[in-house]
Symmetry: D4
Subunit: 251 residues, 8 copies
C-alpha cells in the first residue's frame, strides 16, 4: 500500500495528478458499492485468495449481484458458502455454478490446480460430521489444495485412527472435525507433527449444547499446535489450512 | 426393611410390643441425632459399606463428634474426605486417624483387605489430576478394593496409554480422571471392556471454566459404558467403582 | 491384543508369515471401511457386546449399509438408536427389523436370553420420561438383561417410591430417569444398595433449560454410588447397566 | 395512602393547610435522607414488619447511622443481616446489639413474642446449610414467629425426613434449605400440606456452580406449592414465611 | 398419617386386622397404578386441594385415562394444564371439560365457590404476559379463590401501577407476572404488605434468553416478601397463592 | 407533573374542584384502559415522542384497538414494531398503515420532517444486519431525524469504513449494528467524536449463541462513548439516538 | 482529517514538502510510542475530551510515564480510573494528583468548569452502588458537567424515587446505577424524558452472578431511551453522558 | 514409526531379536516413567520441537525431576511455562534456568537461532495483555523464531494499527492478543495476508467474564484465516505460530 501512496504522491509532485484527484483516489476504496454490499475487489491481491460469499443471510438476488460484480471485476473463482438448495437453484438460473449438496457450497468459475506445499488431511469423528468436513474440503480445494479425507475415525475406536497413521504422517496441515466430546483434535494433535485446525461441530444432543462441548474440549486441548475455529465453521478451517499450506510457495 | 416391619407387627399381635412402642419404633430412624447432624447408624447394613463424612463444611469438633458417634455405634472404618491439614491436625488430637495429605483424606479405624471381584484401575490425564485420583484410590481401598494407579497418560500422547494396555485389560472397573479437555474417558472407554467412571477435574485455565469443559466432554463421550460423576469428585468415583467391583461377591 | 501380536511375531520367526505381511496385518484395523463409515467388526469380541448404530445423523441408506456390513460380518444383533419412524420405514424395506416406536429403536437380528447376574430396575420420575426410559430398557434387553419397569415414581409423591421398595431391593443395577429437578436419582441412591445410573431428561420447561437442571442435580447428588450419563441418553445408561450386570458372569 | 391524601385535600379545602404546604407534604416521602441512605420510616406501618439493614455493602459507621435514625424514629426492632464479626464488634461499640455468630445477624432492640398463626419449620439438607437456615430462623423469630429446626434431613437418607413427619405435619410454613442437588424442596413439597419456601445454598463444589444446581432444581420442583428465593437468601425466606404465618392474624 | 398407622396398629393388636393385611396396607400406596401413571388418590386429603395433570408430556388417551381414574375415585375437580387445543378437542370427546383457550387449561368437574381469606391479585407487566397470568388465575379460581386481574401495568409506566394502589392494597396475595426485565415483582413487592409470588415469563427476545433475564431479576429482588416460581409457571404461582390464601380457613 | 398537581390543589382551594373530584383526578392515570392494555395517552407530552406498539406479542385485533385508541386520543403518528406480514395485512384492513417489509414496521399517521440537531448515521457490519438497521432507521425517521445509511462496513475490511470517514465525521449520533464478533462498535467508537449506540444482532452461527458474542463484545468495548441496547433491538437504538439528536432543540 | 491530507498534498504540489516527508507524515500516527503504550496525543482534538488511563492493569511506573507524556504533550487534565490506594500513593510521589478514594480515581491537572447543556443526574438503587456511581460522577465532572447525586432510591421503595421527580425532571441525562435486579433503569426510563444510561453493578450475591442479573434486566428494559454499559463501568457511563450533555455546545 | 517396526520385524525374522524382546520393545513406550509423570523422550523427533512443561500444577521438585530426566535424555532446551517466581527460585537452586518474570517462563538449556521462514508478529490490544503476549513471544523464540512485538494497538484507536502496516505486511504469522472485546483479531485478520492466531485474554471486568467475551469475539471473527487458542494461552499460540513458520524449512 505504501508503494501506491508513494507513486500517487510522486504524481502529485510532478503535476500529472491534481490535488483533488489524489484526494479522491486516497478516499476511493478498493471495493465496489452495490447498495446492500460493498464488494471487495482487491482481496485476491491483498490476501492472495479468491473472494467468498457467506450465503446464509443473503437473498438469491443479492448473491447473484455480488457474484456478477466480482466476476466482471476479474475474479476467476467465487465461493458461496451456506447456500441452501432452494437459493442454489435460484442462483443457478442466473449464473453458472457448480453446486455441492452435502456441504451446501456453490462455486462460480474454475477450481484451480493444487499448488500448495503439501496435502491437507481432513479427519472426522463420525459420519454425521461429514457435511462440515466437506465444507472445509471444498473450500481448500477451491483455494488450490490437495485434500485427503479420513472420515469416521473418532477416538472411541482409536485403532481406526492409528491404522491410518500414514495419512497423519504425510499431512502438511490436518483439519480435525468432531462434535460430541471433540476429543479427536487432542489425539490427532498428539500424533501429528504439523499444525492442526480443530472444527467443533454441533453434532450431538443434550449436554453437547449445540457444539459447546466440542468447542470447549478443543480450546482446552492438552496437545500443542492446535488452533480452533467456530462451531461448524468448515469454511474457516479450510481457508486457514489453505493459507498455511501455501506458506512456502508465497515467498 | 419389610422383614423388620413384619417382625414388629407380629410382636404387636402377640402383645410383646405395645402399640405405642411400635409406633415409636416405626418412627425411630436408624440414625442418631446429635444436634447438628443425624448420624446414619445402619448404612453399613443397608448399603454394605462404611460411613463417610464430607469434611469440607464441618468444624473439627463436629467431625470428631460424628466419628465418635459412629465408632461407638460399632462402625469399623470411617472415611473423612475434604479434610484440610489444619482440621486434620485438630481432629487427630482427639481421634486416632491415618491422614493422607495428597487427597486430604482421614481414615479412622482399619482399612480392610481387598475382597472385590477384580482390580480397579485409576488413570489420570496429567500430573495435576493426581490429588483427585488419590481421593478415588484411597476411597476404593478403604472400601476393600485393590487399586492400580496409571498416572499421566493423557491423550495428547496416546502411546503412553497404549503401552499400558495390560493395565486396561486386567481392570474390573476403570476410573478415568482428567481436566482440560477430558478426552481420556472417551479413549479409555473405547479401549476397555469394563465399566468406566469418568471424573472431570478442575485442572486447567481459561475456557476450562473450572472443570466444565472436561465435564461436558465426558458426558458427551462417544464411547459406551461411561458414567460420570461431579467435577473433582474422586470420592464418588471410588465409591461407585467399589460397588461395581463387589457385584459378584455380594450375591 | 498382546496375544495376537505374540502369535504374529512367532509366525514371523518361523517364517510362516513374511515381514511385509506382518506389517500389513499390524496395520490392518479390525474394522471395515465402507466410505462414509469405518464399521467396527471386532467390537463384540473386544467389549463382549453387540454393535450399536446411532441413527440420528445418518441416512436410511447409510444405516442399511452399516447393518448389512455387520450382519455379513457375523454380528448376531444390531441395535439402531434414534431411528425416527420415517427412516425406520425406509430401513425396514431393505432389512428385517423389529421397530419399537416409543424409544425409536430398531433391532436387527435376535434379542438374546437374559444372562446377567440380576435384574435392572428402570425408574422414571414421570410419564413424560418414558421414551428415554424405554431406550434404556430395550438397550438392556438386547444386551441380555432382565428389566423391571417402575414408572412415574417421582419424588413429589415419595410414597409411590417407598411402596415399591421391593423393586429397589431386588435390583442389581438401577437406572433413574428424570427431568425437571432430577431428584429421583438422589432419593433412589439413598435407598438402594446397588449402583445407580442417573439419566437426566429434557422433560420440563423454563428453567429446566433442556435438561440442564436435572443434569446438574444428578451430578451433585448427595447420595453415593451414582454415575450420570448425558441428557436423554437412555442408550448409554442401558449399556452401562448391562456391563455392570454382567460383571460376575464375565470372569 | 388514599385516606391520607383525602385528609390532606380536605384540609386544603377548609384552608387549614395551604396549597404550598400540601404540595410539600405530597412530595415529602416517608423516609429520612441521611446522605448515603434514605431510611424508610413508615415500613412498619406499610408492611407490618420491622426494618432490615443489609450489612454486607455498608461500613460500620453507615450501619450505626441507619440504626440510630430508625430507633430514634420509633422503630422497636432493627435487624442487621450479613454483619461479619469485625463490623459487628465495631457496631456494638456504639449500639447495644444481640449478635448471632452463625447466621451473622445483629439485632438491635427487642425480639417480640411469637404471634403467628402457627409454627415455621426450617429443614436443611445437611450440616453445612445451617448458617443459611439460621439466618432464616432468626429473621422469622425477630418477626414474631415460633420456629422449629429440623437439620440434616437430606434426601439421600429419606428415612431421616420421614421419621420427622410430625414436624412436617404441624408446620404452618416450611422453609427447605439445601445446596448440592437441592432435592429437599421437592420431597418436602410432596409431603407437606402447607406452603414451602425453598432456599438454595451455595454448599457444594464442582458442578454445583455456586448454588446454581440447587436453584434450578428448586425452580423445577415437580411438587406444587413451592416458592424459591435467591441462593443463600435465608433472610428472604424467613421474611416471606413470617408474612405467610401472619396471614390470619393480620385481618 | 401417624393417626392412620396408630389405628392400623390397634386393629392388629385387637385382631381385627391380620399381620399380612396390615403389612399389605402399610405397603399399599394411596395411588392407583394405571401402567403409565400412578394416580394420586389421596392428594385432596393430604394437601387439601384437587389433583392436577400436567398435560404437555401426555397423550390425549393418557390424560383421559388419568382423569377418569380420578373422577371415579371421588375427585370433584381435576385441572389439566398445558393442554393444547388439539389434545383438548380429543379429550373433550371422551370427557366433559371446560376448556380455556388463552391459558390452555381444561377443567373437569365443577369450579368451587371462593372460600379463601381474601383476594388474589394477578398483575402483568404487559399484554403478552396474559396467557401465563391466566394460567395462574384459572388455577387459583379452580382452587377456590377470588381473583382480581390487573394487566399491563409494567414498570416503564409506573403511574399505571400507582393508579391501581387500591388493587394492591386489598390483595391477600399478589402474583406478579412479567417477562423482559421482570422488574414488576420488585416494585409490587415494595408497595404491597402481603406475600408476592413472582412469575418470570419467556416474553422478550435477544438477551431475555427465554425468560432467564426476568427470572434472575425476580430472584434478586431488593423487595422483601417475594417468592419465585419457574419461568412461565402460572400454575405453580396460582397453586401457591391459593395455599397462602387458605391459611386462616384451614385452622 | 408538579405544575398539574399545584393547579389542581389551587382549584380545590378556590372551590372550583371538589375533594372527591380531585381525588379521582389524582388517581386517574394518563392512560386509557381497554382491557388487555392500558394505553398511554400522555407519552408524547411526557417524553416528547410518539407512542410505539411492540407488535410481536399481540394479535392484529389488539394492535388495531390500541392504534385506534391512540389516534382518537390525538396521537399523530403511531409506530408498530415487530409486525409480521400476516398481521400487517390484517391490520391494514382496518387502519391505513405504511408497512415497511424489511424491518417489519408499520406506521400509522404521518412521518414528521426531520428537526434534530444533526444526522444519525447507521452503520452495519454486513448485509445480514440490514433488517435490524432498518428498524433503527425507520424508528429514527418517524421520530423526526435525518438518517444516513452506511451498510456492510464490517471490520474485516476496515478500509471500507475508513473510506467513509466523511459519514462518520458528520454524524450527530452513530448507531453501529453488527452480529458475529460485533467489533464494529469499538472501531467506530474509536473513530467518532459523537455518542455511539451499539446494537448486537443475532446474525451468525455456532458460538455466536444468538447474538451473545456480539453483545458481550459491545459491552466490553475498549472505546469510550458507547451505549448498548438489547440484541436485535433496532427500535431501541433508533429511539435513543432520536432522543440524543433532539437534545439542543428541546431546550 | 481530510483537511490535513489536502493541506499536505497541496504542500507536496507546491514543493514545500518532499514526497518522502509527506509519506512519513502520512504514516506518522498522532500518538507517542513509549514502549509499553502508544499514548494518544490527539484525542482531545479528535473526540473533544481529555485522555483517560485505565489504571487496573498497569504499574505505578507505567501510569506515571503515560501521564507525564500526556501532560508534556499539552493535555490539561488526565483521568486515571481503577487506581487503588497503593498505586495512587506511589503515583502521587511523582505527580500531583487529586485522589478520590471512593471511586478510586486520580485526577492530574485541573477540573474544568461545567459547560454542558444541562445537568447529569446520577441515581443509585442502594448505598452499595455508590462507588460505581461516584466513578461516573467524577468522570462527568472532569469532563465539564454539573452532576446531581440521587442515591439509594431503589425500586423496592418507589416513593423515594417519586419524591424526587424534580431531580428527574431537570436532568439532561440520567445515569441509573443498580445491582441486584437492576430495575431502577426501567422505572427511571419510564419517568424521564431524557436519555438514560444504565450501569449494572456487581452488588448482590447468589443469582446476581456478579452483575449478570442487573445487566440482563437493563438490556431487556421495557422503557425506551435506555443505553447500557458494562457491569461496574461508571467511567463509561460518565463519559457517554458527558458526550450527550455537550451535544448542543459542540455545534 | 513404520520404519522402526519394519526394522524390528526384520530382526525377529533373522533371529537377532527374540520374540519376547520384540514384544517388550513393541510395548516399551518412547517415554520414561518417573512415577508422577511419564516423560516424553521422543517428542523432539516426533514433532520437531523441544519439550515443554506446564508448571502450574506441579511442585518445584516435580519440575526439577522432569527437567533433569529430559536433559539427561539429550534434550537441548526445555521450556517451563506458568512458573511463578517462588517455584522458579526453588527450581533455580537445582537447575540453571533463564527466568523471564513477565511471562513467568523458565528456560533450561539454550535458545536456538531463528530458522523459520519469516517473522512472527505479536500484537496486543493493550498494555495489560503484555504478559500473555510475552508468553507467546518467548515460546516462539525458544522454538527458533524471530519475533516482532507490536504492543498496545487496540482497535479503539485503529490509527495505531494502521500506522504499523509495515509490521503487518512483513509478518509470516501474526499472533493477536486481546482481552475485553477482542476485536483486534478481526481487524488484523482483515488487513493481513498471512495466518492469524488469536489469543483471548482474561483482561477486563464485568461482562468480560474472565475472557469469555474476547474468546467468543475471536471465534466469530468475520475475517478469514484466524485460528483461536484458549484464553491466556500465549504458549499455545507461540507453539502453533512456530509450527507454521517452519513449514517450508521442514520439507
Amino acid at each position: 500500500m505504501n508503494t501506491d501512496i508513494r507513486h500517487l504522491l510522486e504524481n502529485v509532485r510532478n503535476g500529472s495528478v491534481s490535488v483533488d484527484d489524489a484526494l479522491a483516489r486516497l478516499k476511493k476504496a478498493p471495493f465496489e458499492d452495490i447498495g446492500y454490499a460493498k464488494v471487495d475487489m482487491h482481496r485476491h491481491v491483498r490476501q492472495g485468495f479468491s473472494e467468498v460469499i457467506y450465503g446464509a443471510g443473503k437473498t438469491a438476488e443479492q448473491i447473484t449481484g455480488i457474484v456478477n460484480t466480482m466476476l466482471s471485476g476479474g475474479e476467476k473463482t467465487v465461493l458461496i458458502t451456506r447456500l441452501d438448495p432452494e437459493k442454489a437453484a435460484a442462483v443457478a438460473k442466473e449464473i453458472d455454478i457448480d453446486y455441492r449438496a452435502v456441504p451446501q457450497i456453490g462455486i462460480a468459475g474454475r477450481v484451480p490446480e493444487p499448488d500448495g506445499i503439501g496435502k491437507i488431511v481432513i479427519a472426522t469423528g463420525g459420519t454425521s460430521d461429514i457435511p462440515v468436513a466437506e465444507e472445509a474440503a471444498v473450500t481448500a480445494e477451491v483455494l488450490g489444495n490437495e485434500v485427503l479425507r479420513l472420515y469416521d475415525v473418532g477416538v472411541a475406536g482409536v485403532h481406526r485412527l492409528l491404522s491410518n497413521m500414514d495419512y497423519i504422517n504425510q499431512a502438511s496441515v490436518i483439519i480435525a472435525v468432531a462434535g460430541m466430546e471433540g476429543a479427536l483434535a487432542s489425539v490427532v494433535g498428539g500424533l501429528a507433527d504439523c499444525p492442526v485446525i480443530a472444527v467443533p461441530t454441533s453434532v450431538g444432543y443434550g449436554a453437547s449444547f449445540g457444539g459447546l462441548s466440542a468447542l470447549l474440549s478443543m480450546l482446552n486441548s492438552c496437545a500443542s499446535g492446535v488452533g480452533v475455529v467456530n462451531i461448524d465453521n468448515g469454511f474457516g478451517a479450510g481457508y486457514l489450512a489453505a493459507m498455511i499450506n501455501h506458506m512456502e510457495a508465497k515467498r
